[in-house]
Symmetry: C3
Subunit: 650 residues, 3 copies
């Protein structure tokens, strides 16, 4: 077992004489795996149906000879110019009816039958040629599904959407009922009348919009599955993955995880943002949570700067290493980069690589070589398990899609709402898993359900059962607002969960700056924009509102029931407020809090403890043990900025 | 005579068993009128030409049986999916050529002949079926004409625009002359060459743009009139209305008022904005001014939150009642809501209703029931007259359309300019009417003409005559800048009015933050962005400019002429500055100022005095009389936040 | 030799009886030249192929009789409605595929063959009719090429772009190599597959985008050249010009200058911005630099306000005169306005004119008459040379186009980067020329190369030779980042120039607000967003970085080599920082600094010295001589705000 260490390798950008140097440098850097072919369709199939594998044969042979394994991409992410010229029907149409042009990448309509047919022919040809090559370690399906083509609104998509709806609803009457088309004169006479949510004069049917997001995620998944089916048929023994993009709104990854053998992720925290290591930690935990028993691969990160932000800061010395170990600590068995050699030309030439534009006499190259060497030292850790967290946070795409629609009570940023809970746990030294609305919650002592706007009856049941089985559940508003049809929850917000939590929500009460609202009681904090008029019906009031419509009413409640505890927070709070709430909730649940210095994280995996300082200042820690890299004893160490300490227990 | 009290009633959203409960609750709430059918086209005509009135028969019978009268909508506001599927030519085209999709509401081109034909068939069918039903109290034409489809730019509209222009100008030579097409090589050879003002490389002909706004308003009105014609033919005795939207830029309501029997208005002041009650007061006064002798109906307001703002705050306790009485005080004979029962599904499910999602054990329901009861107590007030104001403000859509075009001296917000005068009058305890450029001004002691950018010769004559007949006229810049063709006023800005006011305007002088301009003299204030180089030619200089191009020159002038007084203000000021100017102007005119506490309004109607506290703090008043609701004597009362006192004189 | 003094004269906007008054007033104002016909196509050719020259004959005769010469426009800037109605293929298409509408001006696709054919027929007709008229002083080609139609993205343009590319690259393989299409699967099989850079899902190929800018500039130039060819054939002796727009991104004017006999410029500094006189000074210097030996003409400025900004402030008293003399001082032989008589109608009616809307009893008219008289007094200066600056700044459109593309290290405003150097020189009393990447640098003692992002090998060679020939070169980052193909410079940033400057650039290091970076050493300043990790390899470190990735490394270096001096600045600085750097660089080069009061400029031309105070406060100067206008002796004069002193040497 070894860590994956390497990069996207796109040698077609360079003359063939460079390739030997590439392999030599890969050896120097400790590269074990190269991802090949991601954007190679135009070179692999230079004319329709005529394949040219010669150059790729030579690339793979060179890698194989050097002991480097190949993660082979199916090359379907970016159709070549001949394809779009011959088949303009494959292009993307946006919600205004604009047909987007080729000239960048991923310019295909995910619902295009022509694209499907041509891409699968390519996959089949690749599988036939390389499926039994000894260097092949995995198949890499497409690339970042939906990144640039998340949704299409054209006529072929409309037809696909109608088929999807027909499968979901069976009859148009059922669709009419559940979409609420009796309002605004939207009643459909047949599925043929239904359209994607294109640009309209004012806001659209919310269930149509939500279903289109579900459909859109499913269409991306269908493309993935279609490729998987070809590969399972031709190369059943080769593991399959595709690179996710963390908390990526267009694709509900919970529905994808059964169709990959292991999870891969592309992660680009902003080096110019001192807090972005927390976003990265969240992303690592999400990846681990998708398949808790299978290590995941950090498939893409940057050695230094990216090229697509308004300002693309380089990583500071050590910052890449710190973020790499964060991934390993949180369950990654691989640290890969985009890309091996920085491009001289094309859209990503300002994106850093393992071999920078200035060559190997460089800070970046030295950091690359150091990390490669260290991962070889640590290879025993590969495959090991991360210590299972006692806390879980519900992450739910239906809620994300719904809560950010037009015509809701307030503009809520779901990612920010979710992150504030994970970040506050990090601040308290508590690691967490993510769970879906369908997950088994029994392994956790505490479950946090923040902004689960859309809750199906069975989700409410699951949460209810969790409390009644002795768990500690914290529900944070706005949760339980609608059912899966985006209809206001039958019987009142939170449905049956309301009784379990001991609350009744009478009114949603978002407030503007002229009517400030604070929490007072066991938690002192400011409600950002959201508050609710809540009545305690069995719950203890832990904190109350001051100001606004809910003035004097419950803001945070607690109810012990059947051995479990149900908390309800009727406001959105900033990180500090959330930390205060969590201290109360965790104290009651027996989950220990560890006070770490700011910007330091601590994770246990495979018998070692990773302590990483993401801050700009050195920190001192009151710990001891042995340094897993040097073997030296460690006592009350100082960790420099971006320093990493890997402690083995004594 | 009774007040209308009720709501849009859309029972088609609910199973029929709910309808009986609806009627029972309406009775409890004191509902007298229900507006039915606003969005029912798809259910009333489920297939082209095949009508299904059964469900509506049952709804109306139930209401009738309970003594609730029906304001029956013509159901034409939102065409059903079968219509747009069969007739895509009815859809809206925007200025870029995008065809907007159905899926929200009001997605029809107001110039569409197909829409006109199909909608009138529906109106005829409704009139034939229900036109003689005893429950029918009024026809409600369409819904909020132009709210989501204010302007269309497609080819059918282009043809209609050309016909409109041909009627206006007769010959293409006359159009060329008045549009000034000799400039920029825009001379047309025939009407066939003229287009709507679609997206162009740079700014468009301003007269074309202004005429397109006039045409656009007229097209909306034509749709209204076409429905009216059917109803007048079939049900001549039934009063007709359509719901306006206050100061609504796309429709010049002055031209609509002869085509309704009474005015209706939809008003949604933002509860999160502590000053929005002033905007509402302005809107009420405008509605009353449209038909001073006929009480108007508040056709739609919300019991609490709406759903279409970025942040939709609920109304605070009492706030709905206070705003309802504001409408009554300012001339409304009805207080209606959108909608009866809050939706569970569809685009407006987060919009509050009379029956909230959480049911009748709720603050909202209790406030609804209380208000219904009170209005029954006060029914003697219905039909009574509001005390006629002594002050009028000119509101002019031509000026609004022109002043906010591109390529003017500065970006001026007409609504803000108009509002600042009305708000300052409110602050001074002075109520006002609005007048059009064609109104009879003789009933008023003071007329204010703010930002009347476009002035026809007859408007200038009217204002001139008003001063010379003894009136007090205050003209606030920028006024009299162009004639009705958007051509700079012949003979200099203000035309003949300049001599009457005793001023000559040499230069328009908007100023940026680097060259601040203040007023000094009898008024001390800051000019926001607008100032002018003015020469006094017979006028007294009351305040002068300091700074900018006009430094040292007149800012506020006054000239007594023929018993009247003409004031000219050459700057835009904030509310405080406007109040200072008004104190001077009113003092000279004999209109009394009443110093009220902040956020309190006072209006007399039908022998009682309404005093409403819209502020967040209680206020004490030095008044006495009897409380019209309780009958109790009142002396120096304290009015709580959102409190209402209705005083009968002793 | 006399100065041009006059305006765009569009008499077709006015009844013919006005024309006699026009000529009388022109005489009063000292008008010598009128530009006629700029927007007259629709009147000159009211129907396709049928010309009506009668009115223009009469206009030109009147002017000629009054001794006013005619700068005759070719009238091709704005096609008439009959043309766009008959030939909609001439209209512009934007990158989303929207076809822009006629109704403003300049609504033609510069690549349209139909437009080309019809416009040249008009030019031929004009040349045949007026080419030998004694009043004709120059041809004025089109108007502001590309102002409103800089780029078209339609199919006819696509074909033209492909032809341009075929001429540039010869084979599709060469295009593929230089565009780097091996990345992102963009390899083209033939030129037929190449498209303009239309709207795409994500960022486009940077070389495609850069080439499209080069092509777009060339297409505009082709239209100009096509008209020139007709005129050279028919009227070989008449000088030709077209009005530039200063630093205008869509057209690389360096490539235009051989196709005009003299340079013309339209300049509209914002009167509301107290610093805009510096932008104007830059623009004047650029115009002079285009043809250093031929005086240029200020073809358009405003007497007071324009109409196209959000806020259009009038010029303050004297401000128009001060800016007019700035143009003369910096090499203009003409001061012209848009337009003679302010329009009453049309898109520019709020744009000031020589004859304002309020007539001749006005400040504006008095200033116009005064300036006309003075220019007659000063006519001996016409044709004289401006004192040649010792400093030159490189201005490079390739760099401008590239540096502002998507997917670069940071968002850099090229115009701001260029201006900061010119403005700082102004602050130091040092005047400068601009040079292109191909210019002869030998006349200059100091050359500044700021943000020359794109550097061809021969540009690097030119700069290198300049230093090695004894020049002082200051290179400011980001320079030398890519070659002409937008590929990262071979052999490292700056290419061979790096060795001459004695530096090696390891990393580009833009930094955000959380990681502030300052310069310390001989220059103390703040790096705005850009910094670099630089190694001194032979250079002396004059200032170092503090903070960020480059902490402790060189920020400003200096290397003496072969008698010349090469400076390198690895950061972007504000004006104050740039001044500090310049003080050091100039001190070493022997170019004298003159400490002038703020907002005062001083320029020598033709034996006199212009001193202009653009500030809002009077300034005292320690100078003496004789006033060129009054002839009076001057000693330590005070110059009022917007005052101008023209000193003859004693």
């Amino acid at each position: 077992m070894r860590f994956w260490y390497g990069a996207d390798y796109n040698p077609e950008q360079w003359p063939e004489e460079t390739w030997d140097e590439d392999v030599r440098l890969m050896h120097e850097a400790g590269v074990t795996v190269a991802t090949v072919g991601v954007f190679s369709w135009a070179l692999l199939e230079p004319h329709e149906g005529r394949f040219d594998f010669g150059w790729l044969d030579r690339v793979i042979e060179r890698l194989h000879a050097a002991g480097i394994r190949v993660d082979l991409a199916t090359a379907t992410a970016s159709p070549p110019p001949w394809l779009t010229t011959a088949y303009p029907d494959t292009l993307l149409t946006d919600e205004w009816g604009h047909v987007l042009s080729p000239g960048s990448r991923q310019h295909f309509n995910p619902s295009s039958a022509t694209y499907r047919r041509l891409s699968l022919r390519l996959v089949r040809a690749l599988a036939e040629r390389y499926g039994h090559h000894p260097a092949l370690v995995a198949w890499h399906i497409g690339n970042e599904f939906g990144n640039d083509n998340p949704r299409d609104y054209g006529d072929e998509t409309a037809a696909a959407f109608r088929r999807w709806l027909q499968r979901r609803y069976g009859t148009i009457d059922e669709l009419n009922r559940r979409w609420g088309t009796a309002f605004w004169s939207q009643r459909y006479g047949s599925f043929e009348e239904v359209l994607p949510p294109r640009a309209t004069p004012t806001f659209r049917n919310p269930t149509q919009v939500l279903d289109f997001d579900r459909f859109g995620s499913d269409v991306l998944l269908e493309n993935h599955r279609a490729e998987v089916a070809v590969l399972r048929e031709l190369t059943p023994g080769i593991p399959i993955t595709t690179n996710f993009m963390g908390l990526f709104k267009p694709a509900d990854y919970w529905s994808w995880i059964d169709d990959v053998d292991f999870i891969s992720d592309d992660a680009y925290p902003d080096p110019a943002d001192p807090g972005s290591w927390k976003d990265a930690a969240l992303q690592r935990d999400l990846m681990r949570s998708f398949k808790p028993d299978v290590p995941w691969i950090l498939m893409e990160q940057a050695t230094s700067a990216v090229n697509w932000r308004p300002l693309n800061a380089p990583k500071l010395p050590g910052q890449m290493r710190a973020l790499s170990y964060q991934a390993v600590a949180r369950g990654a068995d691989g640290v890969m980069f985009f890309q091996w050699r920085q491009s001289r030309r094309g859209g990503e030439k300002f994106h850093s690589g393992m071999v920078p534009h200035t060559g190997t006499d460089s800070r970046i190259w030295r950091e690359v070589v150091q990390l490669g060497g260290e991962l070889r030292e640590l290879e025993a850790l590969a495959g090991s398990a991360v210590q299972r967290p006692a806390v879980a946070i519900v992450a739910d795409w239906d809620s994300w899609w719904s809560i950010e629609q037009a015509a809701t009570p307030a503009r809520i940023d779901y990612k920010a709402r979710l992150s504030t809970w994970h970040h506050a746990l990090l601040d308290l030294g508590v690691n967490a898993d993510f769970v879906s609305r369908d997950s088994d919650l029994s392994p956790y002592r505490v479950v946090i359900a923040p902004a689960v706007f859309v809750t199906r009856v069975d989700t409410l049941n699951t949460l209810d059962r969790y409390v009644r089985s002795g768990g500690t559940l914290l529900v944070a508003a706005p949760t339980g607002i609608t059912d899966e049809d985006a209809a206001l929850t039958e019987g009142g917000f939170l449905g049956r969960l309301a009784a379990t939590l001991g609350v009744h929500i009478e009114e949603l009460a978002p407030h503007g700056p002229h009517d400030p609202v604070t929490l007072t009681g066991a938690v002192e904090a400011t409600a950002l924009e959201w508050s609710e008029v809540v009545h305690a019906r069995g719950a203890d009031v832990i904190a109350s509102f001051e100001g606004g419509l809910a003035d004097g009413g419950p803001a945070l409640t607690r109810r012990a029931v059947d051995g479990g505890v149900g908390w309800y927070l009727a406001a959105d709070l900033d990180d500090a407020g959330v930390r205060e709430v969590l201290r109360l909730v965790l104290a009651g649940s027996g989950v220990p809090i560890r006070d770490l210095p700011a910007d330091v994280e601590l994770v246990r995996r495979g018998g070692v403890t990773f302590i990483i300082n993401h801050g700009r200042l050195p920190v001192e820690l009151d710990m001891y043990g042995a340094d897993a890299l040097s073997g030296r004893a460690v006592d009350s160490p100082t960790i420099e900025p971006f320093g990493v300490l890997i402690l083995t227990a004594d």
